[in-house]
């Protein structure tokens, strides 16, 4: 067995766990949890082993032929390189911590086996995306991630809101997948392959090989990322997905599912390096590239979500919108031709956002499923571990040096300030979002953990048990340190960048040397946000903003009415069409055509029945009339 073949075990172990739990250990919750945790832990260790042993090689592939019809050849091939190894570690590592935490959080639930089966299926699908070496395989696992997240979000399916949220997440993702699939088919039809390596070689040799469809193909592929990474306008599913159990929110919203879109963009970044061109009907786009559009969508999502987060009161929703906003950052980074920066932020974000979600889960657990931050307060004393780890996560998210978030966010700001690919508008936008991020996160800290106690439930709150607290401590470590582990160098290797190694103390100050402008603006924004939050919320018992902002605050609280707008849009398109089709089917096709045939046949039948009365005189009369008629006809001519 070659070394890279071990990646099959990494991939298949979670699937095996899911299958075993579903088929055999449904009734033994604890055993199911153990199987699931053991599978993901083993995958994690194997990934570490692969990382250490394969360090030198740029990439290795192990593939089997899955489908071959005519000129469509699809492999299930596993590709190991810097990008996928890093992502493997995030998925199995952060995911593993979440698995362990889940046992603490979910053990009282009576369907805990089903939970862990879905969790393992989700891990398997995610690993499939990470390891895929071609578009079709990626699409396959893309869909599987969609369905396993459907199962997880809708885990408490008896709750109407959870069932609706699961449905919404799946269908919104499907909208993105629609574009993704068309993009894949388009690329296959033009370039004749779906394999990343082959495509990359072709495009490197002939940058114009995609012809006038280059821009369209890039945007169609991006549609997939838009769904999974919840970019505007497909962002609406993500906050609703909070209806799932909190560990699931951590898994889906922090480390894995939403990262899939950004990861995919990084994986196929070569596509966006092709010569930009648009077909005739899109000639008005000449002069801008697909990447420009992507970066603006990312930037807009970041701003929009940050604004919404400012006025949310549900602790999980604040984090959900913050995730959206950070994803916007990552997508913007890819759009600014800095996929390395996007991946870097993805990695650090996976650590600290998982930490934040699990911390929120710990709070929710302690307060018996209370999620409103205005009913918390003073939790610092009650739950010290949760508080301090949550604070670490917050500082990292706000980009306070030397926490990891500072370095990755700085990399993105630097990309926006870059003279070649950068954009002043996006830079200002990014700095603004950084200030907003600090503001809403410290609003959360002040209101929930520090300020006055606002509800009696807090008095009975207790620190969560060890099985839930230890994952917090574990995740806090990389949240602090990931900034100067040399991650960006490792990621850079995936994009063929070379950089000289720095010693660790040089790394701490690297951003200031590298792009002082970005670093200083970032720090300034953080300070402004922190100051504003201190001013408004340090002692607040209720939110002062709605009075000050009025209508704007209401719009923010109502998520700028996107759900309502979409509902109307769907009602006037698909619902209307479906009504129309149904009406046509019932009254025209079935009605006129079938009933018509039925009717005329029956009419004839009735008419003929009139003639058959059984009355001899009538028959005689008809007979005579017939004879007369025939005679008249014969004689008349």
């Amino acid at each position: 067995m070659k070394l890279e073949d071990y990646s099959w075990i990494v991939l298949l172990l979670p699937l095996a766990a899911a299958a075993i739990i579903t088929l055999f250990t449904q009734r033994h919750g604890k055993l199911s949890a153990q199987i699931s945790i053991a599978a993901v832990a083993t995958s994690f260790l194997l990934s570490l082993f692969l990382l250490i042993t394969l360090r030198e090689t740029s990439h290795a592939i192990s593939a089997i032929n899955w489908l071959a019809i005519g000129n469509l050849k699809v492999e299930i091939g596993l590709r190991l390189d810097h990008l996928s190894l890093l992502m493997l570690l995030i998925v199995t590592g952060v995911g593993g911590a979440i698995h362990v935490y889940s046992w603490g959080y979910m053990q009282a639930d009576r369907c805990v086996s089903r939970y862990f089966a879905s969790l393992s299926l989700f891990t398997f699908s995610m690993l499939g995306i990470v390891l895929a070496n071609n578009f079709v395989m990626m699409f396959i696992f893309w869909e599987l991630v969609g369905v396993s997240s459907y199962l997880l979000i809708g885990f408490w399916y008896e709750k109407a809101s959870a069932a609706d949220a699961a449905k919404k997440a799946f269908i919104t993702n499907r909208l993105g997948d629609f574009g993704f699939l068309l993009g894949i088919i388009l690329i296959w039809a033009t370039l004749g392959s779906v394999e990343f390596d082959a495509l990359k070689t072709t495009l490197a040799a002939h940058p114009a090989a995609l012809g006038s469809m280059a821009g369209v193909a890039g945007l169609l592929i991006f549609c997939g990322a838009m769904g999974k990474s919840a970019q505007f306008p497909l962002h609406v599913w993500l906050p609703d997905a909070m209806e799932g159990p909190t560990p699931v929110s951590a898994l889906i919203h922090a480390a894995t599912m939403v990262a899939a879109g950004v990861y995919m963009l990084c994986r196929v970044f070569f596509l966006y390096e092709a010569a930009p061109a648009w077909p005739e009907c899109l000639a008005f786009l000449n002069g801008i590239t697909a990447l420009n559009i992507i970066s603006w969508i990312g930037g807009f999502t970041a701003l929009l979500a940050a604004l919404i987060a400012v006025q949310q009161n549900d602790i999980k929703r604040i984090l959900a919108y913050s995730t959206l906003s950070q994803l916007g950052y990552m997508v913007m980074a890819v759009g600014l031709a800095a996929p390395g920066a996007g991946m870097f932020h993805l990695t650090t974000h996976a650590f600290f956002k998982a930490l934040l979600f699990l911390g929120a889960g710990s709070v929710i657990h302690a307060l018996h499923h209370e999620q409103d931050i205005w009913k918390m307060g003073g939790l610092k004393k009650k739950m010290p571990v949760t508080f301090w780890t949550f604070l670490v996560g917050t500082l990292a998210l706000c980009g306070v040096p030397p926490f990891s978030g500072f370095y990755s966010k700085d990399a993105i700001l630097a990309a926006a300030a870059d003279p070649v690919h950068g954009n002043v508008g996006l830079f200002i936008l990014a700095v603004l979002v950084a200030a907003l991020t600090t503001f809403y996160m410290f609003r959360l800290i002040f209101v929930a953990f520090l300020g006055p106690v606002k509800d009696q439930a807090v008095d009975q709150a207790l620190e969560s048990p060890g099985i839930m607290v230890w994952p917090l401590r574990l995740l806090a470590v990389p949240s602090v340190l990931a900034g100067f582990w040399g991650l960006e160098l490792f990621i850079g290797g995936a994009f063929g960048e070379t950089a000289h190694a720095l010693s660790w103390h040089e790394k701490i100050f690297a951003p200031l040397n590298h792009s002082p402008l970005a670093a200083l603006f970032g720090l300034f924004a953080t300070m402004v946000g922190l100051g504003a939050a201190w001013q408004l919320y340090a002692k607040a018992v209720q939110d002062p903003l709605p009075e000050k902002l009025g209508l704007l605050s209401r719009a923010m609280r109502n998520r700028f009415y996107f759900d309502e707008i979409y509902r109307v849009l769907i009602a006037i398109t698909h619902e209307l069409l479906s009504r129309l089709a149904n009406w046509f089917d019932r009254w025209i096709v079935a009605g006129l055509m079938v009933r018509g045939t039925h009717g005329t046949t029956e009419l004839f039948g009735r008419a003929l029945r009139l003639a058959q009365t059984g009355n001899l005189q009538t028959y005689a009369f008809l007979f005579a009339a017939g004879v007369v008629l025939v005679l008249w006809f014969v004689l008349g001519h």
């Binding site: 032929n65 899955w66 489908l67 071959a68 019809i69 005519g70 000129n71 469509l72 079709v136 699409f139 396959i140 696992f141 869909e143 599987l144 369905v147 459907y150 809708g154 399916y157 008896e158 109407a160 069932a163 609706d164 699961a166 449905k167 799946f170 269908i171 499907r174 909208l175 997948d177 629609f178 699939l181 068309l182 088919i185 388009l186 296959w188 039809a189 698909h574 619902e575 069409l577 479906s578 009504r579 129309l580 089709a581 149904n582 089917d585 096709v589 079935a590 055509m593 079938v594 045939t597 039925h598």
Partner: protein, 508 residues
């Protein structure tokens, strides 16, 4: 003797046996039916495993010929190539599952099982036959019991109307196809006329049919066979018929018998009439969008679960038509994969809805809800079936739809865009709505007494169909490697002579 003779023979033989068993021996009757379909299934599995995809001498394996009416050139001729070997396996699986779920029938069991066995034998015979006469005869043998079963054992207020509609439509479709087939038969010179499909194909390969005849016969076959497959706008019989039919009948018809029309198009119409095919394919491509999109929308509005499944089944047929219309290797291979996958899927969903109806007495979506709590097994399988229905990877349907869309892109890319929308978005909307309203949500106390399938025996038919879907979904080459060489021959024949060249040749 060919294994095919066993496969179609066991059910027909069992039908004869059932005929002589007294009607109060219910257990014996049921056992005979189960054993016969199981025997067919086992032989079919063995044949499928032994099938060698390498080209055979005359293109077919496991062949057997018994001359019957020599003067007309009719014989009993069976054989399989890559196209029908999978279909026969699928048919045998569905037939066994249908016999399993027929437990719900409580009246006139003897007659029911008799008709079920005749229908099974007819279906399998139609797919195995390489003789036009038998091909058609077996189909009628299966079709007539369908009408009777819906009429006698059907349910719902609109049962009679449904029976009437399905009878009219399918009879007209079969009649059109018959006229086409007879016209085809008459195209051969008087001395060498035969019903043998292998001989006919060989003859027309050597002597291409005159353009005028192709233009006359092809539409007859296209619409005749098309009506049998619920081609839009001749589809309204399907949802209503299946909605009223007993579960086993719906499974066999929607799953297997319906594919007869497609099989006829692939086996006869495409390779023998390339010019006709190429002329009509854009029409077919347009109509298939009616299936995919329009019927998808109609499905979104359905209030009855069976009507929803029926409409979605019509929508899935659109992919088969799209694959055919592309006249490409990928498209035709994909079409056959969809036929097999959809057969298993349709049988599974109708079987499950039969279970739900038996437990709750209704299939009105608004009245149901939260059933997953009471029925973890049935509910979980139904969710998986719905997911398979909206094209989730891992199930065989995905492979077929993917191949169709890839195959159709070159010549019909705008159609693929619409089809992908129908499959990925519209399909997901109605399937997930059904899951949401039937299985998810709070449990209505009315349904507190409903039961799940708990014993292995009750789970068997559903598990069998689901496993088949998963196996072909995970290992699609089990199917595609067999289909590919045969599909290649058909596509080559269907595209060999461009329309222009044939038109230039003087009519013979």
């Amino acid at each position: 003797m060919s294994p095919l003779t066993y496969i179609l023979g066991w059910p027909l033989l069992a039908a004869l046996v059932v005929l002589v068993i007294p009607r109060n021996y219910r257990f014996v009757i049921r056992s005979v039916a189960l054993l016969a379909t199981l025997a067919s299934l086992l032989v079919a599995v063995k044949m499928f495993c032994q099938f060698d995809a390498a080209p055979a001498v005359d293109g077919y394996r496991f062949g057997q010929i018994i001359p019957w009416v020599a003067s007309l050139g009719i014989s009993y001729h069976v054989g399989v190539d890559g196209i029908n070997v999978g279909l026969i396996l699928m048919g045998a699986i569905v037939a066994f599952a249908a016999a399993c779920v027929s437990r719900e029938i409580k009246t006139f069991e003897k007659e029911f099982y008799l008709l079920l066995l005749v229908m099974t034998g007819g279906i399998l015979g139609a797919f195995a036959s390489l003789d036009l006469f038998c091909f058609y005869f077996f189909h009628e043998l299966a079709l007539v019991p369908t009408f009777i079963m819906i009429g006698v054992w059907g349910r719902g207020e609109r049962k009679n109307y449904a029976t009437f509609q399905i009878t009219i439509y399918l009879s007209i479709g079969a009649l059109l196809a018959l006229v086409g087939l007879i016209a085809l038969y008459l195209q051969m010179p008087a001395g060498s006329r035969t019903f043998d499909i292998v001989e006919i194909t060989r003859y027309f390969n050597g002597h291409p049919m005159a353009l005028a005849s192709q233009q006359f016969i092809f539409p007859l076959l296209l619409f005749g066979f098309g009506i049998l497959v619920s081609l839009w706008p001749f589809h309204t019989w399907a949802p209503l018929g299946y909605g009223s039919a007993p579960a086993a009948t719906a499974m066999l018809h929607a799953g297997v018998l319906k594919k007869f029309g497609l099989y006829g198009l692939i086996r006869i119409a495409l390779p023998l009439m390339p010019a006709g095919a190429q002329q009509w394919m854009h029409v077919l491509a347009l109509l298939c969008l009616g299936n995919i999109l329009y019927c998808g929308w109609v499905a979104m509005r359905q209030k009855d679960l069976n009507l929803l499944i029926g409409n979605s089944s019509v929508a899935h047929m659109g992919f088969c038509f799209l694959g055919l219309a592309s006249l490409s290797l990928l498209g035709v291979t994909g079409c056959v994969v969809v036929m097999i996958a959809h057969g298993l899927l349709a049988a599974l969903t109708f079987g499950l809805s039969g279970w739900l109806r038996e437990q709750t007495g209704t299939l009105e979506i608004e009245k149901l809800g939260g059933l997953l709590r009471r029925m973890p097994f049935i509910g979980a399988v139904l969710i998986m079936a719905m997911m398979a229905g909206c094209g989730l990877p891992g199930f065989a349907n995905f492979v077929g739809e993917l191949a169709v869309m890839f195959g159709a892109w070159k010549s019909l890319s705008p159609f693929v865009v619409v089809a992908a929308w129908g499959a990925l978005v519209v399909g997901a909307i109605y399937m997930l709505r059904a899951v949401r309203n039937v299985l998810h949500g709070p449990l209505d106390p009315v349904w507190a007494e409903t039961r799940d399938a708990t014993s292995l025996w009750r789970k068997l038919p559903f598990a069998l169909l689901l496993v088949a879907l998963l196996v072909f979904g995970f290992f699609p080459r089990l199917l595609t490697d067999k289909i590919n060489p045969s599909a290649e021959i058909i596509v080559e024949a269907a595209t060999a002579t461009p329309v222009g060249k044939i038109a230039a040749r003087p009519a013979q």
